[in-house]
């Protein structure tokens, strides 16, 4: 059985969703109430692969909302409690979605395997980052040529290059062969190490990298204050919004700038679930975060292990393996042509 741990995109949204699902008491509760509320296993689903194989899964809402990010202890507890619920519910492989994996990594929760009486078994969890990285690479490979960008000579900027997903994307694109890798991240030291490790790539500040790039892969979330001078960007420019939350389309809207939601996959048929609606997918019955899909893939493949775990452990072999499984079981990466609202909106 696979599991997905997710959360609502805002407190307001969470309350609305609670009302829709019939959790009236929660819909009326204030943020303090939500902070103390335990995680909920809200939905069970059966998913059928294109191969015909069927698996069962569950969606666990961590009852975390981004408004709780400032409450360190609360955020930490929300993630660990949701993982505890997944484990106690007998779920074999669970993906951490949205902020839950960010909290897990940034707060170094690996140190905290003891949640009350339960010892968490890390083998049962995955960040889903391997699949996310693979999907983002597919999105670059498919959509750049569609815009007339020749990857063999294109400059691809990876923003957040030294992170778990970013570094995997760099390695994958390096193997594929592109014009030049532009490496961007907040902290210089990991970037220098990445560059040494790759043996190529140019380290640049964000503002220097953007005007040079034909393709920009964003795997760092964007500060609210970030402003992009769209007039200085190349046209066409493909931007893959692989961060969380996905808010690049509002910052980089301009003619010739094509923003694609990154790390999103579409399944070959509808899944009878309600929960993806909270993730604001265009087609919630089929589309989902690639990290969630990774849990399904691991279940389909009966690979009961923490496939993606820790930082910078994603190998090309693992990406190939999960990618191959992804195609076989009926997932495909979201493309520009899928997006209901073209990124050509006026600036």
């Amino acid at each position: 059985m696979f599991g997905l741990i997710g959360h609502s995109t805002s407190f307001e949204d969470a309350r609305r969703k609670a009302r829709e699902l019939g959790y009236e008491e929660y819909a009326d509760g204030d943020l303090d109430m939500w902070c103390a509320a335990p995680p909920q296993l809200v939905e069970r689903v059966t998913v059928t692969s294109r191969t015909g194989k069927q698996i069962q899964g569950a969606y666990i809402d961590s009852v975390f909302v981004p408004e709780m990010l400032r409450r360190f202890k609360t955020a930490k507890r929300k993630v660990l409690k949701a993982m505890e619920l997944a484990q106690k519910s007998g779920i074999t492989i669970t993906a951490l979605g949205g902020f839950t994996s960010i909290i897990f990594e940034d707060m170094n929760l690996l140190k905290e395997e003891r949640v009350s009486a339960v010892e968490l078994d890390w083998q049962r969890f995955t960040t889903g980052n391997t699949h996310t990285a693979w999907v983002i690479c597919q999105q670059v490979e498919t959509n750049a040529p569609a815009l007339g960008i020749d990857l063999a000579s294109a400059k691809v900027a990876v923003v957040g290059a030294s992170g778990d997903i970013g570094s995997a994307v760099c390695r994958y694109l390096q193997r594929r062969g592109i014009g030049e890798l532009l490496l961007v991240a907040r902290r210089p030291q990991p970037l220098i190490e990445l560059q040494a490790n790759l043996g190529e790539g140019r380290i640049l500040g964000l503002e220097e990298a953007l005007p040079e790039a034909d393709v920009v892969v964003w795997v760092a979330s964007l500060p609210q204050s970030l402003q992009i001078d769209t007039s200085s960007l190349k046209k066409p420019c493909l931007m893959i919004d692989g961060g969380y939350p996905k808010n690049l389309d509002s910052k980089a809207a301009a003619e010739g700038v094509h923003v694609l939601k990154g790390g999103i996959v579409e399944f070959w048929q509808d899944i009878g679930w309600q929960m993806m609606e909270v993730a604001e997918m265009a087609k919630p019955q089929r589309q989902m975060f690639a990290c969630f899909a990774e849990a399904m893939l691991l279940d389909f493949e009966e690979l009961y292990t923490n496939f993606s775990w820790g930082r910078n452990n994603i190998s090309l072999e693992a990406m190939d393996r999960i990618g191959e499984a992804s195609l076989r079981h009926g997932f495909r990466a979201l493309a520009l042509s899928d997006q209901a609202t073209p990124a050509l909106a006026t600036a």
Binding site: Y23, E24, E25, Y26, D28, G29, D32, M33, C35, A36, A37, P38, P39, Q40, V42, L69, R70, R71, F72, K73, A75, R77, K81, E84, L85, G97, F99, T100, S101, I102, I103, E105, D106, M107, N108, S116, A117, T127, N129, T132, V159, G160, S162, G163, D164, I165, G166, R186, R187, V219, A220, S221, P223, Q224, G242, G243, Y244, G262, G263, C291
Partner: protein
Amino acid sequence: MAILEATPASAELETSESQSADAAGLPDFSSAAYKDAYSRINAIVIEGEQEAHDNYIAISSLIPEQAEELTKLARMELKHKKGFTACANNLGVVADMPFAKEFFAPLHGNFQTALAEGKITTCLLIQAILIEAFAISAYHIYIPVADPFARKITEGVVKDEYTHLNYGQEWLKANLETVREELEQANRANLPLVRRMLEQVAGDAAVLHMDKEDLMADFLSSYQEVLLEIGFSGREIAKLAAAALVG
């Protein structure tokens, strides 16, 4: 999922982490403030164990065929009481028993009313589920910040309390169809009391480095888990548990 390095969220997280690391040390067990708070928290625990003993004996009068099992549980509670009394002595603290009696009065009253009416379900919910689930959560949160003597004792107690929680859980599970309505009613009447009791001692608990929100969240997780075992659906459980958070 994607993300990271430059997120404003993670910047905030780092800040709060360092703050919390400073505060993560153990309390000063010898300070007057600690002893003062401990005199009430410890009294609650001692009184709680005594009431648990009395309640299991009382419940055995309603389920005579299980009197032996219940008497065994009751005896364990007295053993716990002795252990916690030793914890106070070890710190040179005198437990404030009058405070504890008053603290338990509303829940005690509800239990006695249910007992007089022969309501097994309500009695079990109050004692074997609510009180036990709360005790387990509180002990778990207490253990990492307890003095070494009390830590050892509390660790031993927690193991026993699971047996008690399990007893109530199994009985209610076996009888769910006939007890459902009474259980819901008892939940509504008593869960808000648990929250009020927690709020009443939140300040003292904080002196012991036990966070009110942690206590509530942990309690609700255990409680939800028991309700799930008993056989309620996810949505029913959320509704039942919400009684602790609103109203």
